[in-house]
């Protein structure tokens, strides 16, 4: 294998080597974790050993003729999908209008932008007060948490399209809206897709919070329940499942984006 320079951000190693390095890091962490757990330096009640987590995963996956893990996953994925569809259907049009019409942006950005750095979690009690403790509250929470990231990103995607496309379409006789529709939006689509990917990642990080209040099902509830009984091996298993699902969602959406907009990387 040819040696690549170490301090060179442009000398990216080949894919197999990259995978090898990534896998090595994960394995190293597992070894460290196992060593700490086996050494007895940290009490098992604070840090379950990896094999205990695997056993807990097996228990959650299949026990007494049912899979708690599958049921919980389906509930969480379902809530995430409903919120995600709402984020796309409501957030993308608002972002597009803000990006395409500077006056709308001037009016709405003070209402949207601050929420990017606001403690969305602190809204949870307010949502409970307004919407009760049912499904609507959970979906509204996921929606708000994600849409405040998505809207500014979609707006920025629209504004990042070079003006030459707008002028070119205008000159060919397009109405101002046709310029947006046929010259600007198509060019902004890859970055809008990035915004959707970020929105789904954000929703995965918020799912445990959304399911914190009065959930009978869901991965957040599963973790919450295990914590109540100090079943730390199950807590770890639940967190790892959420991370894995978030990663799978991300990988799938990046793949989908490349399929939909193959021209982006060729530009």
């Amino acid at each position: 294998m040819p040696r690549t320079e170490f301090w060179n951000p442009y000398a990216v190693p080949e894919a197999p080597r990259r995978r090898l390095l990534g896998l090595a890091a994960v394995l190293a962490l597992l070894v460290l974790w196992s060593a700490v757990a086996a050494s007895g330096l940290v009490s098992p009640s604070k840090l379950p050993a990896p094999w205990e987590v695997v056993a807990a995963f097996g228990y959650l996956a299949w026990h007494d003729g049912q899979s708690m893990l599958l049921t919980a996953t389906l509930w969480s994925v379902g809530r995430l999908l409903v919120a995600g569809v709402l984020v796309i259907l409501i957030g993308i049009p608002i972002g597009i209008v803000m990006g395409a019409a500077p006056q709308v942006n001037a009016a709405l950005s003070p209402l949207v932008d601050p929420f990017r750095s606001a403690p969305v979690v602190a809204l949870l009690p307010i949502l409970v007060m307004w919407m009760g403790i049912g499904e609507a509250m959970k979906i509204a929470f996921l929606f708000i948490g994600a849409v405040v990231y998505l809207i500014p990103m979609v707006r920025d995607a629209i504004q990042a399209v070079p003006q030459s496309y707008w002028i070119g379409a205008r000159d060919l006789g397009a109405t101002p809206w046709e310029c947006i529709q046929r010259a600007v939006i198509p060019l902004a689509m890859p970055r809008i897709a990035d915004a959707v990917i970020v929105a789904f990642s954000v929703m995965w990080t918020y799912i445990t919070v959304a399911e914190y209040v009065n959930a009978r099902e869901g991965l957040g509830q599963l973790i919450q329940n295990a914590r109540r009984f100090s079943a730390w091996d199950q807590v770890f298993a639940g967190i790892i499942v959420i991370i894995a699902l978030a990663l799978a969602t991300y990988q799938f959406m990046v793949w989908l984006k490349r399929r939909l907009y193959p021209w982006e990387t060729q530009q």
């Binding site: 030459s164 496309y165 070119g168 379409a169 060919l172 060019l187 530009q267």
Partner: protein, 284 residues
């Protein structure tokens, strides 16, 4: 230009008049900067008119006024009139089509769909039936030498080929006025020459009023029936002369005393009009 008009100068003739055009922008720190100062020009017959001047002299702004394009959404010109066939031109109009240096081809569409792009717009969809525009696009792709590239995407083409797409998209509308804003400025010397020859060929097939902005003296002398030299900051008409030599103009003509005299005349005018400001390019 509703009907597919035959390519004869008579049907394409158009009169374009710029009357006392002044363009001013608010200057940083108060006041105004005048970038165009009382420019009056008239273009009557089909012909290739070169607007030659240093970079940033305001020639593109003049071209945008002719096209009725307002990039910043603000009113241009500050004062003066743009008349097309005697009627005031206040905004976007469909007598002219513009070709830019940044050719603005949609990266997600094929070459064919890029050339057919205007026919997806309400304005042209209503005017040109599908069967006809499909034929026009096919013929135009043949005319610019891209028939075998129709299914490719812009990223799969060279810069010159992309500019051919842009040119085809403009001419497929059969405009009476073709406005070209340094269209070949970003191309290498050899490709630029190929594109100039292509433009001459296309112009022969569709003689319209071409207003071609360039800062390249050689290009102006190679293409222009008429060369208008603009000074810079503010832009004024420094010189305006005709070249009767037939196109394409041979390398021998370009080296002839007549051509050299034109080049010197242009450079002298520019130096007098704006000493030390801006840059023009001479590629010989």
């Amino acid at each position: 230009m509703n009907a597919p008009a035959p390519a004869s100068p008579a049907t394409n003739s158009v009169s374009v008049v710029l009357q006392d055009i002044v363009q001013e922008y608010p200057a940083p720190g108060g006041g105004v900067t005048r970038v165009i100062d009382r420019v009056s020009l008239s273009f009557a017959q089909p012909g290739i008119n070169m607007l030659l001047g240093p970079s940033g002299c305001g020639k593109s702004t003049l071209l945008h006024m002719l096209g009725g394009v307002r990039p910043m959404g603000s009113a241009t010109p500050s004062s003066g009139r743009v008349l097309i066939d005697g009627a005031d031109c206040h905004g976007a109009h469909d007598d002219s089509v513009m070709v830019f240096q940044r050719y603005a081809n949609r990266p997600d569409l094929s070459v064919f769909d890029n050339v057919a792009f205007p026919f997806r717009l309400q304005l042209w969809r209503k005017r040109v039936p599908e069967g006809e525009w499909r034929k026009r696009v096919t013929d135009m792709l043949a005319a610019v030498g891209l028939s075998d590239k129709a299914a490719l995407r812009p990223a799969q083409l060279s810069g010159g080929q992309n500019q051919r797409v842009a040119l085809a998209r403009a001419l497929v509308l059969r405009p009476r006025i073709l406005l070209m804003d340094e269209p070949f400025g970003a191309l290498d010397a050899q490709t630029r020459e190929e594109m100039q020859l292509l433009l001459i060929e296309l112009y022969r097939a569709w003689p319209c009023l071409v207003v071609f902005v360039t800062h390249d003296v050689t290009e102006a002398l190679a293409l222009g029936d008429r060369v208008i030299v603009l000074s810079t900051q503010p832009a004024r008409v420094a010189d305006d002369f005709a070249i009767s030599e037939t196109r394409p103009r041979s390398a021998a003509w370009q080296r002839s005393p007549q051509a050299q005299a034109f080049a010197e005349r242009v450079l002298n005018q520019l130096h007098q009009a704006s000493p030390g400001k801006g840059q023009v390019r001479v590629t010989v």
